[in-house]
Symmetry: C2
Subunit: 296 residues, 2 copies
């Protein structure tokens, strides 16, 4: 007998079937995210039949969706992006130290006992991206613009690098005070200062604010030129370069792109997502790191 032809489908769609393990990135909006391509690539590179998809979920629906995704038995983990990172951290049964200090979680894994555990990988990726360019932190003066979810996570990882000073700038003074209090109690030997010093008094400038993303003519700091010794990193991935990075390049500075940070945290995120599902929530270890120059 002849089976009616399916057409080229059976041979063309080789990236999903009934055995596929599912991951998702939850944001609002989601059109701009790059995790679907990057995480899916890394999962497949490691030999997993797995895929990461975008899920566009509005803030008022996030809590219920987050909870119900536990019931999809072949869904193993989540990447969380704007504006859900703080809520995701609150809803996890356990979080790692970076999520704890920053109040935000970016990577959420389902455990063997069907719970969500989370950690924040943004800071690790940012520091790895800068170190991958040969830049060291010891003795340096660093200014950080923005202490939302990503910014606070970067502050934690910055403190672990023991620079000479960490300047924290954010229009929300209460938030700055809150994050600095948490950081100081965790890193008592580290100098933290609120507010932006003159540009010639810092060595590394990190933008962790969204300024320059939706309106590419904007910059998170007023400057038409930077001192050429300055290292400038922008966490924004699109546009690339941002006006901040274009100004840095025009000034002869080392300019480090959001994509480099993003790429640097892919491997660490996948490690966490894949290793947690065999472990009960109480036994999850949060000793993650993102290797410098590890292929992402």
């Amino acid at each position: 007998m002849t089976i009616s032809p399916l057409g080229p489908a059976a041979t063309t769609v080789d990236f999903v079937d009934g055995h596929t393990r599912v991951f998702a990135i939850i944001g609002h909006p989601v059109e701009q995210v790059r995790s679907p391509q990057a995480i899916t690539y890394e999962l497949r590179r490691r030999g997993h039949n797995a895929i990461l998809l975008p899920f566009d979920v509005a803030p008022n629906a996030f809590d219920d969706v987050f909870q119900q995704l536990l019931a999809i038995q072949n869904l193993d983990g989540l990447i969380i992006t704007v504006p859900h990172k703080m809520r995701a951290r609150d809803l996890c049964i356990r979080v790692g130290p970076r999520a704890d200090i920053s109040g935000s979680a970016s990577v959420i894994a389902k455990t063997a006992d069907n719970q969500w555990v989370g950690e924040l990988f943004d800071g690790m990726g940012c520091i790895a991206a800068i170190r991958n360019r040969g830049v060291t932190f010891a003795g340096k003066r660093v200014a950080l613009l923005g202490v939302g979810g990503a910014g606070a996570g970067i502050a934690v990882e910055l403190a672990r690098q023991t620079p000479a000073d960490i300047h924290i700038c954010d229009p929300d003074g209460d938030k700055v005070a809150r994050v600095m209090a948490r950081l100081s109690s965790r890193f008592p030997a580290q100098s933290f200062t609120a507010g932006m010093p003159p540009l010639d008094r810092i060595d590394i400038l990190i933008n962790a604010s969204p300024v320059g993303m939706l309106d590419p003519t904007q910059m998170p700091i007023e400057a038409s030129r930077f001192p050429p010794h300055l290292v400038v990193m922008d966490v924004i991935t699109d546009p690339a370069p941002t006006r901040l990075l274009r100004t840095a390049e025009d000034s002869g500075c080392v300019a480090i792109y959001g994509r480099e940070m993003f790429d640097s945290q892919i491997a660490g995120a996948c490690d966490f997502l894949l290793s947690s599902r065999a472990v009960a929530a109480k036994d999850i270890r949060f000793d993650h790191h993102v290797s410098v120059n590890r292929s992402g």
Copy 2:
């Protein structure tokens, strides 16, 4: 400046990004389903950036997950499989006539006003698969084994073909009576009979029961040989052939495979999934059909 390389990911993963529209097949288990490959292929063939994934959801979690998936704004529809088809039909705000009569829904679309509407496509696919083999129904005596979700849907479409008689066999006598009452009120001129007649008194035998799927040595009917005039269809897609179909082939019968039915309903399911999201639930039309010999 040099952007650190992502590796081949950017070129290799070309099937998902932040704009991807999401569909899912919900079942328990899901490993055996073929919709991820087949529906994803058909969606992409039509030029959509879309994918259909398996979601393994246990019965006790189905209602809540089904409701919460409305909140994923880029998730446009669902395929429902065992054991959730009846519950899905009950939870839809509107269903088509086949779902209404059978009590089961297999394809669920999200409407412009964020509601679930559903229809049962199994019966259409089954009839199309048989007609695609050049078999007609007028004046024929048909026996249908099993009136669960798929079976009841097939019974509805069978009745629309006006065969001479439809024999309905299922170990659950109450279910047979319930389905026959619904069918008789909808198709008052059609003859329906409960129970299995001798094989030489029927022309077409359709197995819509799961017997022969998990245990491939089983058959839904006791027979070592069939009369060669008999047309035998089995909705089971795996194994292929089932013991029923192998016996039919050994007897010189026309044997029609579950895959042919499955393939025949893909195009109709995609039509429904893609056309509904621009329409409010109250305005959805259920005038679907599955074209014979339409490329699936």
